[in-house]
Amino acid sequence: MAKPDKNGKKRLLGFEKPLLELYDKLEKLKALSGSGSLDMDEEIRLMEKRIEAARQEIFAGLDPIQIVQVARFIERPNVREYAGLIFDDFIELHGDRNFADDPALLTGLARLDGRSVAVIGHQKGHTTKENLAHNHAMANPEGYRKALRVMRLAERYGKPVISFIDTPGAYPGLGAEERGQAEAIAKNLREMAELTVPFISVITGEGGSGGALGIGMGNRVLMMEFSIYSVISPEGCASILFRDAARAGDAAVAMKITAKDLLGLKVIDEIIKEPVGGAHNDPPLAAKNIKAALLRHLAPLLSLSQRELIADRYNKYRKMGIYNEGR
């Protein structure tokens, strides 16, 4: 998954176009090397390095709306893939014991470095068909209720909870409203605050508003380097606040939605480094980085009592907000 496929274009993001020329050259070198007796391994390696360097340069200078593109990229690893790469013995659990199994949200049990944990995450796909099957990771109330059920299961047996956030938002559908989308998210927020087990949230792609927060109230909130987290999409912000849908780029800047911005605002605790060119260029490496961060943040949480864990979380969110105290 690390490199573009044969025709090279599908897996490149719009702003990666400058790489196309280099990839073309690489292909030609490979063809040349394969056809003749001339050994061009050295040249190929060199070209690959140039591509790597060019990619690194591009990604070092991404502006917010480009980061939005990376965060939403269809090739980006999804929660099921991360579950397989980060954990051992992942077992999916279906259903909210109530109404349905929501395919937009994956839940299960697994082992992190030998320790039992519950895993929760929004499920995207890599194709249109997959995305339709998972409703583009836009969960219905039953998704949030499934997540809560699994969190409570974990809590009952003292197992930490790890959530992976990657959603445009909670689904704004008719049935979702009928079945209490607002209630489902609200209840999750209150219950997450009171969870008696360590809880870490990782924003891996799109952190879309209440739909993201609905499973994201960890003791620690970590963000992948090229993920975003915001109260509304840049497009939504542009069309509502700026009254100009074309100004999504400006909105992305103004809203401070990148990992770096959010670290500055102390809304998140750490940025997890991504492989050059984004997580999709090397999912195992991305997973390795996530795993390392999870273990690092889990360690101190494991030594806290139930009361301390709740207090830790309460204090974290209690502090959020910037205002004038006034008279």
Binding site: Q181, L213, M255, G321
Partner: protein, 285 residues
């Protein structure tokens, strides 16, 4: 504030109502009902708690009006009134957020969209929060979240119940992610209140949508709603765009939410105070 002032302000405030026509005032003394279109003598409307005597339409109340209807003994004492919003992101859309805040304060006479305080209802001490739609559409930013959290803390200290009247278009988008975090903050505060086994009554007024509905407004031990209030997570327009069809009549209204299990009691304004007192007494034992 007179009903006259209220209508003047009403004209200034951004109307987020969906299907209803904007208020059309034929004169100072007469008000045209949003719903039935009938003219109502303004004094009659005020005397009737701002409920249309003809069709029972519940007009929006300002926080001041709500307080006057609720704490008839003037026992309400505001707390944390001084908190004001800050443009910490230096956010500018069609207008600078700082200027927006200033203008809203001037227009509404409030410092932000939530008024909090302590008072007595039916002789029982309560911590009360009243949202005001006239302050930037009742949107929730850092100030709303902080005042809410402090209100809950005050209740925990006094060991008294909390009553909050919600009316809100959702998040204060000018505060971006920080407005989202207020959902977490207010819900976490309610978690603590619950741990302390102190009751929380939530009253939903027209409209309550977005981040407020998906946090503290839905978390009442008992959820009450005024008749006909628009209540939902997503706004009707967004849903229509998603499903590409018109919404059925009554969708996302109080009665719909009751029938779908989210609202315990749809309560007419004239019975609201006594119902709240009954509930407070129930929990008090």
């Amino acid at each position: 504030m007179s009903i006259h002032d209220w209508f003047k302000r009403k004209k200034l405030q951004k109307e987020t109502e969906y299907t209803r026509e904007r208020l059309d005032i034929p004169g100072d003394l007469w008000v045209k009902c949003y719903k039935c279109g009938q003219p109502i003598y303004a004094k009659d409307l005020a005397a009737n708690l701002k409920v249309c005597p003809k069709c029972n339409y519940h007009f929006k109340l300002t926080s001041a009006e709500r307080l006057a209807q609720l704490f008839t003994d003037n026992s309400f004492k505001e707390i944390n009134a001084g908190l004001t919003s800050r443009n910490f992101l230096e956010f500018t859309d069609t207008k600078d957020y700082s200027r927006r805040i200033e203008e809203s304060i001037l227009k509404s006479g409030l410092n932000d969209a939530l008024v909090t305080g302590l008072g007595k209802l039916g002789g029982l001490e309560v911590a009360a929060g009243i949202m005001d739609f006239s302050f930037m559409g009742g949107s929730m930013g850092s100030v709303v979240g902080e005042k809410f959290a402090r209100l809950v803390e005050a209740a925990r200290e006094k060991k008294c119940p909390v009553i909050v009247f919600s009316t809100s278009g959702g998040a204060r988008m000018q505060e971006s992610i920080m407005s989202l975090m207020q959902m977490a903050k207010t819900s976490a505060a309610l978690g603590r209140l619950r741990e302390n086994r102190l009751p929380y009554l939530s009253v939903l007024a027209d409209p309550t949508t977005g981040g407020v509905s998906a946090s503290f407004a839905m978390l009442g031990d008992v959820n009450l709603a005024e008749p006909g209030a628009l209540i939902g997570f997503a706004g009707p327009r967004v849903i229509e765009q998603t499903i590409r069809q018109k919404l059925p009549p009554g969708f996302q209204r109080s009665e719909f939410l009751r029938d779908h299990g989210m609202v315990d009691i749809v309560c007419e304004r004239r019975f609201l105070r006594e119902t709240l007192i009954k509930l407070l007494r129930f929990f008090k034992d």
